[in-house]
Structure formats: C-alpha cells, structure tokens
Amino acid sequence: MKRREFLKASTASAAIASMPWNPALGQARRDTLLAISENGPNNLDIHGVGTNRPGYEASWNVYDRLLTFGVKKDAQGQDHYDYTKLEPELAESWNLTPTSVTFKLRRDAKFHDGTPVTAKDVKWSFDRAVTVGGFPTFQMRAGSLEKPEQFVVVDDNTLRIDFLRSDKLTMPDLAVPVPVVINSGLAQKNATAADPWAMEWLKGNTAGSGAYMVERWVPGTELVFRRNDDWKGGPRPALQRVIWRTIPQAGNRRALLERGDADISFDLPNKDFNELQGNQRLSIIGTPVENALQYIGMNCAQPPFNNVKLRQAVAYAIPYQAIMDAVVFGRAKPMFGGRPQAIDASWPQPHPYTTDLDRARALMAEAGFPNGLETTLSFDLGLAGLNEPICVLVQESLARIGIRTTINKIPGANWRNELLKKSMPLITNTFGGWLNYPDYFFFWAYHGQDAVFNTMSYKNPQMDKLIDASRFSNNQAEYEGLVKDFVRLAFDEVPRIPLFQPFLNVAMQRSITGYRYWFHRQLDYRQLVKA
C-alpha cells in the first residue's frame, strides 16, 4: 500500500473516532439495530470481482434500483416479497412494449452527495454491469440484458431499454440486486485509465442513492450504516442506524441473541433456531427458500453413476427422515415420498423415492453391482454444519446396500473449483435460483449446456428440448405441460436426489418487527422497526 493512502485512511478513522458521541446510550440503542453474522462483506460494490454474499446486503441497502418487488403475506402470515408484483424505486413509471421498455425517473431523487439521479447515471451503471464480466454480467444476461447499446438515454429523466428478444425474465431481472444505480459523476472522478469503471474505488466507498449510507467500515469486523433522511425510493425507514458486526463463533451468536445484546441474525444452526422458538424474548421466522434444494448429486458422465439403475438404488437408500430430524431439526420442507408424476407445474416438489433398502439392494443387483462398490462422498467445508452430518448419515446408509464411501471435506475456497472440474463422483450441495421459475432452475441445474450448477454433468437431449421449449413458451397450458414433463424426467433419471427445501431462518428480538423475506436471502433494513 502506498504510504499516502495509509496516512489518509488512518487520519480518516481518527476523525471518526474523535467525533463526539451522544451520551444518551439508551436512546441510541433504541434507534440502532445490531445485526450479527458469521462473515462480513469483502466489497461494497455488487459488480466487484469476487464480492461475497454479505456484500450484496450492503449494496442492497445503500443503492437503489429502478424497480423493486411488492410484498405479500406468506402461508404463515409473514411479509414475503412478491415476485409477481413490480413496484417503482428510482423509476416513477414505465411503459412496456414488446420490443422495449421506457422508464421515467423520479425528479426529486438525489445521490448521497446531493447530485440528482439522472438517466445518464442509470446507463453508466447498466453499461458497467454488462461489461465488467463475472457475476454481474452473468446475472444481467439471465434477463437478456447483454449489450450497452440496449440502454438508451432519451433525456435526463427518461431511459429506454431495447430488447434483444422477448424474455419473461427481463423485467424481474431489473429488480434483483445487480442492476444498481451508481453516481456516475462521483465514480468517474475516482476512475483511472486502467480502471475506467472505478472498480477499485467503489470497493470501499459507496456512491448510491439508497436508504442507508455507510458511516464506517472495518472489513472483517463491522459495518455501520446511517439512515439517508432524503431517501425518495420509498417510505422513510424507522431505523436511524444499523451496526453489523461479524461474530465468527456460532455459540457466541446464540448467546448474544439470548441475552438480548444483539438484535437479529440469520446465522445459527437449525438446532438453535428450533430451540429458540421456545424463548419468550425472541421471535424466530423460517421461510422456505424459493427455488432452492439441498441434494445428493451423482456424476452422470462417468462410471459408476452413469448407470441409471444405480442412481435409483442410491435414491432408495438415502435416510431422508433421519436427515430431516437430526440435521435440519424439521426446519426444512421434506422433498421425498411424492407421486411418480409431477402433480403441478411448480418447483420444487417432492420426488417419488423413499428409504427402501430392499428395493435399493434389488436395484443394485439389476445395475450390475451385486457386490457393491467403493467411491468418495464430497462436501463443502464452508457449510460443514449442514453438510457433514448429512454425509455421515448417507455414508452409513449407503454402506448397508454395499456402497462404501470415504468422506472428503473440501475447503470452501476450493469447492467451486472442484465443482467446475466435474470429477467428483458423489456430492452433497445446495442450489437455488433468485428468479422463481422452474425452467430457470432446470436451465442451470439439468441442461446439457453443462453450466457449473449442473454438478452432475447430466446430459440428455430430451431434457434439453423440454427446458428450451418452456423458457420461451408464451402459452400457459403448453408451458405447464413442458414443466411437468421435465420434472417427471428428472424424477425418473434422478441425476440428483433432492433431500429437502431449506428454510431461511432468522432470529430476532421480539421488539423487532417488519422483517421481510427476500429472494436474495439478505437483510433489508428499510422495513425493520425496533419498538
């Protein structure tokens, strides 16, 4: 690091540190939310290279998007975002035609430094998202947003997006965390010739118009937000300050919540959520994560699991109920013991397999493995709390039908790389799509394009045809038929065995209300109220 930068950084932190602090600590505690989690953000810019999930939370609260999703009540009566309802955030109104959409921006919206938000900023931000590569570009492409030419500035307050093709995901994709609107003037001031998109500067600085501003960031330790009182994207949030601290030890996180020292956290083991439900001071909410499944994946591209009978044998040997009881403590939706056919065009839905060792043994013999086989079962150490007990139970059960496995822990940093190699024979993993469509899930997880999420390297032309047809189908009845067909095919061929649909659990003090489930599984501070 350059010496000057270091001096600047240290004087800045000294200036913050010496600011007079309100002595009325009680009042401060009432207006401040203390959120705790296992990890903190590594980058405040969602377009950044390698930005982690906590980084999405920072970005979501600091930046605005053109659109956002509405809200509905879920089956338990809790607030749940509504992906069928798009609502304005920075846009005031829009006009959708088959070939383009034209947005009118709010005239009163300002960035945190006071400059007005213009169409020029929106275009610069979207150009950036489709150009910089990596995750943001990938996510934009999921909504057929691919080229800078698609984003046209009509005037200061009007932006038009031209469509490349008719894609039902284009509009919802404008409300996910990626297409944020950045203060282009401020960012460009801090850009360099080598770094025209100010990637370096926006890592640790923000240039948004959102409901919260970053007051202080100590990476790996804490992130402090202050409310932006001039926010125009929605009703004024109740919380004045949000302090987000990193507490690596799960036991300590539980202790902090139980003793009332921390307000809210997602990061506890399922068992703790289960037990804390009896706690008078805490409220626990568990929402099934849309379009997400924990599964056992088998490598279909190489022996032995290229044998469909063997895969079915494994599917009959998984101790589903034991996993539900001992690993997730009931805090998940079971996904086994369903009908042989798809019951409707929804996803996820239960598959027909149950734990039936006799049938599994018979299938082993049919598959040509009467004497069993040896293989390895791998999992991501980063999620060991969930994965390890699953693997231990599966290992024990598979041994009963003659499949002897060695459990292989793979460090979190290396997991993605191992998935990409597609050489692990047997894994447990979880996958979920932000956009809640069955064809979206299948396109990534079962399609022969062999994306990284198709961890089984499953390739079947019949499956590809069904998925491709459903993605661009405009006929509802035809679409539903296609979905049912590919779900049925996935049940029969069973390249991956869904175990359960996980819950997004949150524990918070009773004094906190207004929690809303979001598909991105991060906390939205804007709706929260502390009594």
């Binding site: 036991g251 703790d272 001992a326 060991a384």
Partner: protein, 285 residues
C-alpha cells in the same frame, strides 16, 4: 553398568516416592495406553453407528457420557479417539525424535556446514508462528492423519535438533569419547554406541512433553476444520463440534472429550516434568 542402573532405579524410587504427582501421572499414562490398545474391545457401542432417534441424550446408565447430535455414543467415541489421538501423538513424536535427534547429533558432532544447515533450518522453522505453519502444511498437503503427523513433527523439529546438538557438542570432546576414539572405534560407532545412548534420557523428557503438545496441536487443527475425516472420532473434533452445543445446554458433547484431552496432555506434561527432575543432577545430591 548394572550397578549404575540399580542406583538409577533406587533414585527413581526415591524421587517418585517424594513426588506423588509424577507417580499418579505415570499410572494415568499406563491407563491411557491400555485404553488405546484395548479400544475396540472396551467400547460399549460402535463409535460410528448413528441413531438419530436417540440423539443428544444426556448421560445415563446406557450411555454413560450421553449421545451426540447423530445419536452416537460419546463414551465409545472418546475411547476410539484415545486410540487415534495417541497414535497421532506417538507417530509424530517418533518421527521428530528420529529425524531431529539425528540432525542435531550430526550438527553437533560434525560441525561446519552440517551444523550451519541444521541450525538455519531450525531457526527458520522457529521464526514461523508454529501453529500457522502446521495449519499451512496440513492445508497444502490435504487433511489426512499422515499429514497431521508430519506437520506436528516439523513444528517440533527445532526443539529436538537444538537439544541434541547442544548435548552432542558438549560430549564430543569429553574424555570417554576420546578414549573410545583412541581404542580404534570408528566415528559412526562412537556416535551410535557412545553418544546416542547418553542422549536418550534427556531426549525422553522432550518426548513426554511433546506428546502432550502433539495432542493439543491436532485438536487445534480440528477446531479450524483441518482435522481428520468425518466420521472418525478424534478428541479435538469432538470438542470443537461439541463446543457449539454448550450454549444450548448439551454440555456432555464437549466436556467428556475435553476432559479426556486435558487428562492426556496433563499426564504427559507432568510425566515429562517428573522425568526432568529425575535426570536433574542438582536434585540427585
């Protein structure tokens, strides 16, 4: 020689008699080794067999140490872990004992370049934060029992090499070594028959002390996820996993393996201390 050994035994009896703690430690060490040897026969249950219906049961008549999150018997796992942990500790100490002592003796006896290389190697390892070096080795080579043994041995290398070197360089020029040389013994046979046997007692103190350290090291590696493969029972992993259950009241998961670990390390440390007193010439007078 026999007269010398009988006075040593008498001295040992005297010292142990005046030092009940060392006596207790010696008995405990014997017990631990016995448990490790007999582990498969004395464990009441299969340490790997899960039983999700009976998970997280507190200690009872049928499960003395309770059951863990997958319904496995904690007592059986603690017993199985005794075998593995002692095996890891003994293997790593044996490895470093052989390599470290030989390197140290070579450095002390030969001097010159050998001495310089061994000295630099030891200095370099010492300059590392030792636990992080062990972590790095296990992370880089993969977390298997063999690599945990190797990492622990590497970390202890400077200790053995330095002590062996210091003791050798003092003895090299002493009369009885000169005498052996004049009698026509080769250098190699002098090292093997004269020097090494005389180093053994001092090295044994280190062996006992590092056995304890090796167990702690393996436990620390487990705590950050670099330990042995699941579902193998190992004290460190059991404590680390059990620790998350302390707050929710299932204290037996962490307490029993933690106690076993502490008793083992304590035993070897006290034994090492006792041996040191035994060999300390100042105590003999």
């Amino acid at each position: 020689m026999s007269a010398a050994s009988s006075t040593f035994l008498a001295h040992a009896r005297h010292t142990l008699g005046g030092n009940p703690v060392t006596l207790v430690a010696a008995c405990l060490a014997g017990l631990l080794i016995l448990v490790a040897l007999l582990a498969p026969w004395i464990a009441p249950y299969d340490p790997l067999a899960t039983d999700p219906i009976n998970k997280l049961q507190p200690p009872s008549a049928s499960h003395w140490f309770g059951t863990d999150q997958l319904g496995r018997d904690v007592l059986s796992r603690v017993i199985a872990a005794t075998r593995l942990d002692l095996a890891i500790a003994v293997a790593s100490v044996a490895l470093v004992f052989v390599c470290g002592t030989l390197a140290g003796v070579a450095a002390g006896y030969l001097g010159g370049w050998t001495d310089r290389i061994v000295g630099r190697l030891a200095d370099t390892i010492m300059a590392f934060p030792l636990f992080v070096l062990a972590m790095g080795i296990v992370a880089a080579l993969g977390n298997s029992v063999g690599n945990i043994v190797l990492a622990t041995a590497v970390v202890n290398f400077p200790l053995y090499a330095r002590i062996a070197r210091a003791e050798t360089s003092v003895r090299r020029t002493q009369g009885w070594v000169e005498a052996a040389r004049l009698c026509g013994h080769s250098e190699l046979s002098i090292v093997l028959t004269q020097l090494l046997p005389n180093l053994l007692p001092i090295m044994m103190v280190q062996v006992s002390l590092t056995l304890g350290y090796a167990i702690l090291n393996a436990a620390g590696l487990s705590f950050i996820g670099l330990g042995v493969r699941p579902p193998t029972a190992e004290w460190g992993i059991m404590v680390a996993e059990g620790a998350t259950y302390i707050i929710s009241g299932e204290w037996w998961l962490a307490l029993f393996p933690g106690l076993a670990l502490m008793v083992a390390v304590l035993t070897f440390n006290l034994l090492g201390d006792g041996l040191r007193d035994l060999l300390d010439p100042r105590r003999r007078t």
